[in-house]
């Protein structure tokens, strides 16, 4: 369900390439007739950048960088930055990605998530305090 109150008018997102969405297995939670090719926008929204929040999920079996695989669907929020960029953040690990469009932001997010996984994994060589964090990561991500 969308976090903001939208009316029933839907407009295709300008410059949004749905083929990238399919490739990245980006699946919105909203069950609209337009599916993930459109983002609902009220005629006078977003009035300010922080009023735009779209909740979605990244699907299971999405390939991340560094040979990693998402083995459980991951909820994300998509927001607008003040400069018009898109901001993607997950609800579990608070990792974020930024891009000029949603596809770029998702790509930046998945790279960042992979990097976070390897940083935590490597830290265990010297320090076991991240073990719980790593166990939580491996619930969602694995090689």
């Amino acid at each position: 369900m969308l976090a903001t109150t939208f009316n029933s008018r839907y407009y295709p997102l300008e410059g949004f390439d749905s083929s990238n969405v399919v490739r990245s297995r980006w699946i919105p939670k909203t069950a609209t007739t337009e599916g993930f090719r459109s983002i609902p926008v009220q005629s006078d929204l977003p009035r300010s950048y922080n009023s735009f929040v779209l909740q979605a999920i990244i699907g299971k079996d999405t390939h991340l960088s560094e040979g990693l695989l998402l083995q459980k669907q991951l909820p994300i929020n998509i927001k607008l930055e003040p400069n018009g960029d898109y901001f993607v953040e997950d609800e579990i690990f608070s990792i974020y990605g930024i891009g000029e469009n949603i596809s770029e932001a998702l790509e930046d997010f998945t790279v960042s998530l992979s990097e976070y996984f390897t940083i935590v994994e490597e830290s265990l060589q010297n320090d076991q305090r991240n073990l719980r964090k790593f166990e939580k990561l491996t619930e969602y991500i694995n090689r």
């Binding site: 974020y96 960042s112 990097e115 830290s123």
Partner: protein, 98 residues
């Protein structure tokens, strides 16, 4: 409240003693060493966008990664709070879901 990016970078690398983890450019990942039993902190900062302010979305995300409130992180970036305050706060309440 957006924060000047250069000010934030100085705070992460100076006040918080963040050690940069070499990763794919342009990402700036830092590890912040904390005393036991606090869980280590890893944060990604958008310092490649040096001419922008750090937005509210990013500050909130970094604060959550650190287990502190957004207000506390803004105070570290812009004000009097320092590394010792961070450790004291995390010992008192670590907001991370670990």
């Amino acid at each position: 409240m957006p924060v000047d990016m250069n000010k934030a970078k100085k705070a992460v690398e100076g006040k918080l003693r963040g050690r940069r983890v070499p990763k794919k450019d342009p990402h700036y990942w830092y590890q912040i060493e904390v005393p036991e039993p606090i869980t280590p902190i890893e944060i990604k900062c958008p310092f490649n966008h040096a001419h922008h302010d750090m937005s509210d979305n990013i500050i909130k995300s970094i604060a959550r990664s650190m287990g502190i409130t957004t207000r506390f992180l803004v105070d570290i970036f812009t004000c009097h709070k320092n590394y010792c305050d961070l450790i004291t706060q995390l010992e008192k309440e670590d907001r991370r879901d670990l």
